[in-house]
């Protein structure tokens, strides 16, 4: 059974068109939820860690929020350089991360 499900799989946005990415998870006893950005041919780059429902974190045009069942990554007024795959992961036992398949975002100028 999938522990992390991300939607939508792919998203095309006009520059400046704000949107949200969803990450739903089923792991019990969440120890941490992570968002990473991955560019083609590169490794995942850490963005945020969230630990408890109601927590929010921001970095430039990105804002991550967490509820008991899901997390959202809000992209405000995106620019072409925000184009990437955004990966969500949950931590469970022994520092292991279970990743979703990612949200592939393309921002069109």
């Amino acid at each position: 059974e999938d522990q992390v499900t991300q939607s939508p799989e792919a998203l095309r946005l006009q520059e400046g068109e704000s949107s949200s990415l969803n990450c739903s998870y089923t792991v019990s006893g969440l120890r941490g939820l992570f968002w990473y950005r991955q560019d083609p041919g590169k490794g995942p780059e850490f963005l945020f860690t969230l630990y408890s429902a109601g927590e929010e974190k921001e970095k430039e045009r990105l804002k991550a929020t967490l509820t008991k069942k899901e997390s959202f990554l809000h992209i405000t007024a995106p620019k072409p350089e925000d184009s990437a795959t955004y990966l969500c992961a949950v931590e469970y036992g022994n520092n292991r991360l279970a990743f979703g398949k990612g949200n592939q975002v393309v921002v069109i100028p």
């Binding site: 992570f34 041919g41 022994n94 520092n95 991360l97 398949k101």
Partner: protein, 114 residues
């Protein structure tokens, strides 16, 4: 400072051959992880080292896969009798120990088994 370094960046090998993939973690990071990422998928956990010992190797798919970290720094992932299904990007990550220390990933080794 320098990030996680993985070599080679690309490796093409024939089915049945043996390969070694190397990871140089960020200096001072005690924890080291190997993940595997197939096309269109998120990274999948393989093994976790704390210091020199493998604290959790439950993600290794079978006994053809083995990893070492003899001095608590550099790690090598070894794959014997490679199969075409082993083709993927192998990612290494490192971190400090502790709740607030996220994983920092290298750019991976793209392994292609022909």
């Amino acid at each position: 400072g320098a990030g996680v370094s993985q070599t080679p960046s690309n490796k093409v090998t024939e089915k049945g051959k043996y390969v070694e993939l190397r990871c140089d973690p960020i200096s001072g990071h005690t924890a080291l992880y190997w993940y595997r990422q197939s096309l269109g998928q998120g990274p999948e956990f393989l093994i976790y080292f704390q210091g020199t010992g493998a604290a959790d190797d439950s993600g290794l798919p079978n006994d053809r896969f083995f990893a070492v970290r003899p001095e608590g720094s550099v790690s090598t992932l070894k794959i014997q009798r490679t199969e075409r299904g082993d083709s993927a990007v192998y990612l290494c990550a490192s971190s400090f120990q502790g709740r607030d220390s996220p994983l920092h990933f290298g750019n991976g080794t793209r392994l292609t088994v022909t």
